[in-house]
Symmetry: C2
Subunit: 569 residues, 2 copies
Amino acid sequence: MTLNPHLAPQAPGPANPPPALPPGGLRVVALGGIGEIGRNMTVFEYDGRLLVVDCGVLFPEDAQPGVDLILPDFRAIEDRLDDIEALVLTHGHEDHIGAVPFLLRMRPDLPVYGSRFTLALLAAKCREHRQRPALHEVREGERRDVGAFGLEFFAVNHSIPDALAVAIRTPAGVVLHTGDIKLDQLPLDGRLTDLAGFYRLGAEGVDLFLVDSTNAEVPGFVMPERDIGPVLDDVIRRVDQRVIVACFASHVHRVQQVLDVAAEHGRRVAFVGRSMARNMGIAAELGLLRMPEGLLVDLDEAAALPESKVVFVSTGSQGEPLSALSRMARGEHRQISIRAGDTVILASSMIPGNETAVFGVVNGLVRLGAHVVHQGNAKVHVSGHASAGELLYLYNAVRPSNVMPVHGEWKHLRANAELAVRTGVDPESVVIAEDGVVVDLVDGKARVSGRVGVGHVYVDGLSVGDVGESTLSDRLVLGEGGFIAITVAVDSTTGRAVSRPTVSGRGFSDDPKALDAAVALVEMELSRTEVEGITDTHRIAQAIRRVVGRWVAETYRRRPMIVPTVIPV
Amino acid sequence: MTLNPHLAPQAPGPANPPPALPPGGLRVVALGGIGEIGRNMTVFEYDGRLLVVDCGVLFPEDAQPGVDLILPDFRAIEDRLDDIEALVLTHGHEDHIGAVPFLLRMRPDLPVYGSRFTLALLAAKCREHRQRPALHEVREGERRDVGAFGLEFFAVNHSIPDALAVAIRTPAGVVLHTGDIKLDQLPLDGRLTDLAGFYRLGAEGVDLFLVDSTNAEVPGFVMPERDIGPVLDDVIRRVDQRVIVACFASHVHRVQQVLDVAAEHGRRVAFVGRSMARNMGIAAELGLLRMPEGLLVDLDEAAALPESKVVFVSTGSQGEPLSALSRMARGEHRQISIRAGDTVILASSMIPGNETAVFGVVNGLVRLGAHVVHQGNAKVHVSGHASAGELLYLYNAVRPSNVMPVHGEWKHLRANAELAVRTGVDPESVVIAEDGVVVDLVDGKARVSGRVGVGHVYVDGLSVGDVGESTLSDRLVLGEGGFIAITVAVDSTTGRAVSRPTVSGRGFSDDPKALDAAVALVEMELSRTEVEGITDTHRIAQAIRRVVGRWVAETYRRRPMIVPTVIPV
């Protein structure tokens, strides 16, 4: 019996409703994304009206078994849906757009603002949910007034094309939200983060700066995406067998470089995995991915080509068990079987928590004889988030009065806060406000004013929210120790057992006789309860639970769930 | 509903019993530790007699929920226990000695050879199991004949004192097993890996070389352990609040450096965690840890000292949920509460699979205001295993005829094999033989001759082996989706329900009405089985499982375990 490492997660602080927002003040609260990496969603309030920036999902950890997705907690706005002026999306990653369909269920006519590629990805997602959201395309450099909120959009560089930062002007002051950002000075598409715009805004005066914290702990600068091309070229030019490259399905520039190298070496390309094919189709259509005529082939054509004439571009870089790459590693992929001497390139990061799964895939591929290239042995990945060195540039450009680190766990938020202070921001004006903590910008000062309840909202299968902490806690107990079910029918007037009790376990033991000794124990207890005149089935069940629980703890030193059922007949 | 990433682990190859070992040949088979990191155990056979090197445990992964430990699979030797001449232990880490008590249960009089510190740690472990093994202390440079096996021991450097490599001489040839090894050229205790001895043995001729693969993928050389002292000094000298250092409880040299730095800065030291206090006590007693008089205080004394006058040395560096450090991070430790400005140093590696737990602890500490120093932001850890550069030294010293990489997953084994080949070993003579694969050394050639069954043997609570793959597979299903139990009593002659069916779920939903609709469904099905004259409770149960399973899949798109119980009355 081991204890689950996650049974006592850090509880969020208690709710503490803030006072009314003073006239002329701006209120900011994150319903997700601060204190965690994922489900980004920040709500801004001015004069009774709301603006939402991003609405993403978080992928569950071991402590949340069986859950598909975790949504931001909409409770703080669910009674004020009509107050929302608009939803602004900074870019098209799942942790920024994945929960939009769930928000649209509550407010189908919500105006959604975003760049062309972002909205195209959202539209594809919404089609799967049979939704047709009201989309408003915006571009970098553009300004839009949305109710009381004056929006201005800035080009930023990230691991997906067409990302935006957004400035929000209200009489309370100027807010700048970076979204996810880095400062690649040689971006593949030439679209630089608009540092000039940030300097201009900084000169105008930025009252509150919300800054991506993901890589704040990492010193220095992220290498240009462009530098990965030559590494891919160097690997692919040396081999004369199959090459499989796995990366994120939205990383257009990474895929672009694979395509370019493939073309250079006379190889055709096949996309493997539904999301990869879909997203690259959208990117090509919007002119964000250059695909030379005839380069692309379908999977069956590719499988028939000579091994030296093909590159597969696949999903599965995080070790997802159902992905094409995991199937290949297990020797179970229908069209692609790995042969000794094949090359697999994991052109991707390893998201914390996925290490075991990714290493499992790598070991499986190596066992089959593949040569596996990954960020541990070659420069085949760069991050999409600004490192500390780049964040310093941002702070020095914007020179904000107040700073609120976003997008990160505590260690990232704290590291980002320290960077802000080192560039001269008053420590009093750097506010680490995890999910639910309410920050009010009043008279140019950002201060915590209270806290609203923000919990985890789970999507499991078709339903949202019915799986909660109690169900997850039961799953953790069941997953660790299984259960023992004891069933008996009793005469409801005398409390006498009218059947032999059945005692059976699942997830408890492979030994079919493991629970045999418990039957007599239950029978003895039933005699006792009968003698004592106990007829209440609930009390009889409790008595059974107690004796079986004690017996199993002493005999096996384990803690399965004990599930007694007493049927009155 | 998500699918568990581990439901389809890579199956080991089928068993294929080897032919009889030719006279004069030596047989080698790993019952653990090759193809995985942990539960190291290698069996050597010559002329019908067996020698075992190491007998460790493996700690379970997510795919093995609720399991405490995984043992080597003793099946291949359980009928031949009396053939075992001796067990040789290379060092005192759990993955090399942890399973010894389980082997001793089968063969209590088994002679055990090892160095002084290794045997002291084993003796402490065996006392907990109420065992008194037959211990034979050996030292580096020593030779012992154990039946047909001529043993010679060599000093090696690792992350625990007093580690040994062992040479095994039989008429079949000379075998050298490194155990866990690195080549720190400035070891804290001055005890260098005996490279001179390896050169001498190499000149004599090594027929088979078993080599630690753990860091074979890592280029270059491991930094000296000694270089960590100045980093610790640099951190501790700057702070005037509490310092907590977490590291492995057997890492005597790491702890030594903490003690030295503490003494230098006038701080007393308290050990936190039972294994830390016990192991450091043993090390001090054997003269392996220098502890100045009066430096050590107990936890209550330490808690009463001024904050600038104490260093806590704690377990919990892997995020173990019950460890002192995890309790501190949750604000639940009885004696030590973290205050803003305290410093926590994780002077440790992060074992793959523990990332989420370790980051959870770091975030908890940072949230409480602690400054956390770890290998990601300071040089406070070095590995105990030779990197590629060091392994090349070993191959060039030993110049083996045959090589068998040990201690590693496939990616490590393959990388180690490549290093052997690059130093000139014939690729045909480098044998990657995962657990159970039988390697015979005959006429100076090592070749695979067959395979014996090696599975995972689980310890869960008090029992060994009764939790198997079927139980784990049930736990995975239960942990992902919980279960729905349906119970009904039926008249055993007519098949008619004599109670209303109860339908209840655990780990399924927080909504108490989630399963209400299933009751009517079950009643309808019971009417149907009654009308069809079905009285067999097993068939009735199957019918119930089918309708409820289909209903829940359609309604919720989830796959809980469906557990029908039909009681005949």
